[in-house]
Structures are given as C-alpha cells and as structure tokens.
Subunit: 145 residues, 2 copies
DNA sequence: CATATTTAAGACTATTTATTCCTAATTAAG
DNA sequence: CTTAATTAGGAATAAATAGTCTTAAATATG
C-alpha cells in the first residue's frame, strides 16, 4: 500500500530534518539537508520550492540563505504537510475509483475504507511537526540509518 | 491516498462482477465483464491472466469458455485478492520508506501507520468475495453507474 | 476438417512519475 | 564591483505504470 509518492516521502523527511535540527542561523540550506539524508539535492530543491510557493516554507537566496518554516513547528500539523505534498484531495481518493462516485450508492468497500481514511486523517491532524521533531531529537524515532 | 493501482482497481471490480453475476454456464467470458463494466477488454484479460497464474481463477479457452473462480467465493477473502493484484508485500510498505527499516528504531510515523494498516488488513481478511457479491446483488452497494 | 470463439503471450505505445541538469536571479562579503 | 553561495525555474532524461494491439493456442460445433 503505497501511501506517499516519492515527493511526499522525501519532502516529509526533509521537512522533519529541518524541524528536528534547526539551524543556529535563521535559514538551513537545502544542501545540508539533502547531503545529510542522502537525498538528491535537486529533487529536494524542487519539492521545497513548491512548499515555499504554498506558504509552508520561506526561502532566502544567497550565502547563508536557505529555507525555514513559515510558522512555528507547533502550528504545523502533519495533515497540512501531507496535503501540500500530495495534493488537497489526498484524503478524498477512493479505493476502487468508480466513475461518478460519492453520489448515490457506495461501492462494496466504501465503509471500511472511509473508516481507515478517517483514522489516518485524524492522526495526521493531531500530530504537529514540533512533536515529531522532538521525538527525533530524543532519538525515540529516527529519520535515517 | 492512492490505495490501489489501476490493475488493482480494475481487477477487483472485474472479479466482483464475476462473483455478483455468476453465469449460467461454468465460465463467464472476459468480454462480457469488460463490456458491462466499461473497462478495456485487453487490460482486463491481462490482469485476469495473472490471477489465473496465481491460482485464483481458472480459465478455459474456446467457445463458451471464459474464467471462473478457482474456489467458492465464500472462501476467497478480499485480502487474498488484493495481495494477488498488488503483490504480497502490499501491507508491508511503509509510509516514508526509510532505508533498512523495520530494524532498530522506527520512524516518527510508524506507530499510527501500523495501526491503520492493521485495521485495513483486518477488514480485508474478514471480508469474503461472497459477502461483497451478495451486497452487490441486493443493490446495497454498486459496481458501476 | 473448417470455422468461430475465446484465452495466452508478449511486443509495442502512451502517460505519468521520478530524477537530473542547466541557467538565471538574489544576496552576502571581500 | 567581483565572487561565491544559494534558491528559482524549467528543460531534459529515465523509469515505472498504464493501456493497446497482434499473433498464437485451445476448443466447440457443424
Ligand atoms: S463508494 Fe467509496 S470506496 Fe467505493 S468507489 Fe465510491 S468513493 Fe470509492
Ligand atoms: S518506521 Fe515504519 S513507517 Fe517509518 S520508515 Fe520504517 S516501516 Fe516505514
């Protein structure tokens, strides 16, 4: 069950890095993130550009430039991140994708698919980046090997 | 959240058609299924060929040939179908896909991702094709428009 | 046996997603 | 002003997924 595209996976990991290891200065460079996580610098740059466009990040060019969260990590819920990375319709997708769905009668698997989606959405909307960053810092969980 | 590939979606729908509208004779032709559901005949054929190879279906060539379930619909759980269509590792996939995962410490989202997966897996393993077929027949749910 | 029907097999094409690469714009610092 | 560092933008390439098409094999029927 592929929950996230590569964009989603890399984007999330890179963001979590930023949250978990905030720089001394105002901005953290993409190069440092991608190098540390072993991700493609160009790919991460592309992903972050979109997050910047969507207002989740702010960026600054030039020496000692980089990216930073647009608001405190406490106020950014995983849900917002996922939607930014995967599209706002992320939780609207259906399991078997019937034409004209959502209308009249549901398909055979609608009920528990909805349950599962709702649960995940709920979890995501309750989890802040700050919390995850803290877990990473205390090494309760890990971001790489 | 894309849960199933096109192969998975079409395959499941086509299978459910077979279960819900079993033929008078022993086999149901792929042509009838694909025409009725508005799916590509060739694509469905391709998908079914794999299900046949995996022992979920049996096929028979020639006039009044077609495909049939290899065992009673009561004994086929959705889980088996999904795994056949999407690969046995379907429920092993992880959310952010860290290298060497499952080993030492989990990543930040492992816990609730596991919950969700377990729930879905459980639902799937409790739901038989027979049950879904019955729901379709009684029009409690629908397979197409 | 001849023909029509149906699945099997796999090549081929198209579309989407993933990834890399090149060039421009911005800015700090000497 | 020059240079180096950094993100911005978008083109180009690669890989994976989706979908089509052609030919072969099997089988029923007359
Ligand atoms: S009923 Fe629900 S799961 Fe089924 S096709 Fe519609 S939206 Fe998707
Ligand atoms: S800890 Fe779990 S969710 Fe996180 S990368 Fe590993 S398997 Fe995936």
């Amino acid at each position: 069950m592929k929950a996230l595209s590569q964009v989603g996976k890399y984007g999330l990991r890179a963001l979590l890095y930023l949250v978990a290891y905030p720089p001394d200065s105002q901005y953290l460079s993409i190069r440092q993130i991608s190098d540390d996580l072993g991700l493609s610098f160009h790919f991460v740059t592309k992903i972050f550009r979109e997050l910047t466009e969507k207002g989740l990040l702010i960026s600054y060019r030039g020496p000692s430039g980089g990216i930073a969260l647009a608001k405190p990590a406490e106020e950014i819920m995983l849900l917002e991140v996922i939607k930014a990375l995967e599209g706002d319709d992320y939780f609207d997708k259906c399991l078997i994708g019937l034409p004209h769905c959502g209308s009249a009668k549901p398909c055979p698997v609608h009920e528990f698919w909805k349950e599962v989606k709702t649960k995940l959405q709920h979890n995501f909307s309750e989890t802040s980046l700050a919390l995850l960053g803290e877990k990473i810092r205390t090494q309760e969980v890990r971001l790489d090997d």
